[in-house]
Symmetry: C2
């Protein structure tokens, strides 16, 4: 019986020790299972370990652990921009309801070309397309359209619904950071309302942590109820040098970790802003995997140049990611 009793006491002790641990969020390197071993994964794990260790000079209390991710090309593919595919399809639906507009822009160009054409048009045209498809509508009406689109519309090259195209290693990184006490944000050139339609489901990032491009919005009162009306008028285009301004507006703290990607140079200002504060970590994703996703560079190489000058960690999709998507 003594043995049995010891055994039971052991169980009691085990539970006493185990449960407080269970109370804490689980954060383990095992969560980063889609990352290959190597310098990049090591840099992330070692940096996070310093931030959460109360004995480390780099220790930060949880409310100061801010991580900011770019969206397109960083958390999911950006060729084509998801939102532009949505806008194109919505424009097609709008044209069915008002065929007399087919001769006007942005209808004419958009509907007479396939989605790849949008890579060749200028920013002014893309803005016109967004204003037409996302403006002049009740705020509440957009969300169901976005949710349906993400669940059903398929990526033209990858052949899967956009909602299934979260980069698995990035999704793991978001969870890993959250479990280490970080608050994770998206800071995107895409529209806030569009990205909010899938950020929680795809990346575990709630709507209030999405910072993006916005249109002017007004309070509308009708039958004693208040709601919001989105005007077809740009408020803020949240790219490049505006990203640090928006991060301060929405967060008010310097991001400890910033994550962006190579393509348009849209994240250089945001990562430089993060790098001006120590301790900090900057991650820059390089799309160099034509087999599993796409391989492309940046015209003037500004992002990779800044990475070299400022010591950012460059992620090679090909080398550093064991898996790119969840279902492979």
């Amino acid at each position: 019986m003594t043995q049995r009793r010891s055994c039971i006491l052991f169980v009691v002790l085990f539970l006493l020790l185990a449960f407080p641990t269970a109370c804490l969020a689980k954060s383990s390197v095992a969560q980063l299972s889609s990352w290959n071993e190597g310098a990049v994964k090591q840099a992330v794990v070692e940096f996070v370990a310093q931030i959460v260790d109360p004995q480390s000079p780099s220790y930060l209390p949880p409310h100061m652990r801010i991580a900011v991710f770019d969206n397109d090309g960083t958390l999911l593919p950006e060729k084509p921009y998801v939102q532009m595919d949505f806008a194109t399809r919505r424009l097609r639906d709008m044209a069915k309801a008002a065929p007399e507009r087919m001769a006007e822009e942005p209808y004419k160009t958009t509907l007479n070309n396939d989605i790849s054409h949008l890579e060749k048009v200028g920013g002014a045209f893309l803005l016109q397309l967004l204003l037409t498809t996302h403006g002049d509508m009740a705020k509440d009406d957009l969300m169901p359209l976005v949710k349906e689109f993400m669940g059903t519309a398929k990526h033209p090259l990858l052949g899967k619904p956009y909602g299934k195209l979260a980069y698995k290693p990035m999704r793991e990184l978001v969870s890993y950071l959250q479990d280490n006490g970080f608050t994770t944000y998206i800071c995107t050139g895409g529209m806030t309302d569009f990205v909010r339609g899938y950020s929680m489901e795809m990346f575990g990032i709630p709507p209030q942590n999405v910072i993006g491009t916005t249109f002017r919005t007004e309070l509308m009162e009708k039958d004693g109820r208040s709601s919001l009306w989105v005007k077809p008028e740009l408020n803020i285009y949240n790219d490049k040098k505006h990203k640090p301004v928006a991060i301060d507006l929405h967060i008010g703290l310097r991001p400890v970790i910033t994550v962006g990607n190579v393509y348009t140079g849209g994240d250089v200002a945001m990562l430089s802003y993060g790098a001006s504060y120590k301790p900090s970590l900057q991650l820059l994703l390089h799309h160099d995997d034509a087999k599993r996703e796409l391989a492309y560079d940046e015209a003037n190489n500004a992002s990779l140049n800044a990475a070299r000058e400022q010591g950012w960690v460059v992620i090679s999709m090909k080398k550093d990611w064991k898996k790119v998507f969840s279902e492979e």
Copy 2:
């Protein structure tokens, strides 16, 4: 031995049951100890109970539990506006460094009158005062000034440092809501950067949950470092009809609980916006306690009228609060 063994097994079972409970945040009505028993406290407790009960038709998952508080007059006294006292004192310091400006506005009027004079000047003058004292400076330079001011500058009537003047019942309400899974925000006509200087310490609301008035801000690069420069130019004045727009911009979800106060009518739009969504609760603080704080009404009574029409809960400072401040 069987009895002893049962006893040990009981301990094991107890631990199994007890520890998961300990994992959950403790939320108890006892936290609201500065609230008198009565209809208001009961309304709050019953509403929260519905929201957190998975069996209730009003149940909401934690990420949708959004509570938004006005700041001046809701979380701390608003006569005078804390920020205006700060601005006045800062202007005095600025005048010492540049005495030749004493003859210009806003120096002349501000420095030749006491703080109560600011109740008589118009909004344009107050804006000029804010632009002069909060604009044309590095973002990082404001915070230390605000923190020092809140710790040392005393309220002219109440005789205590502003940093000690959080309404105790409101501070308890914030904690109570947070422990029930709510995310708590401040939506204020005051400047975001000013309120961020004390929101965490005074109310337990972190900087990223402060939504307020902002000036135009630009990225500044110097010696390879990025920082932000605040221009003396209004970006958004976050009052009245702008509050719902800002709530959507920063949160993207309807607030389940909105809390404001009677004085300028600044919270009517925000509370009406909250009330347009069910389930929801609106609380409106009436300053009717000349003995412990101040007693005042609103010129056109718009807030109390809206409260009656839309079923908001009116808090009487005199009747509903056992204590107003922590140190009484």
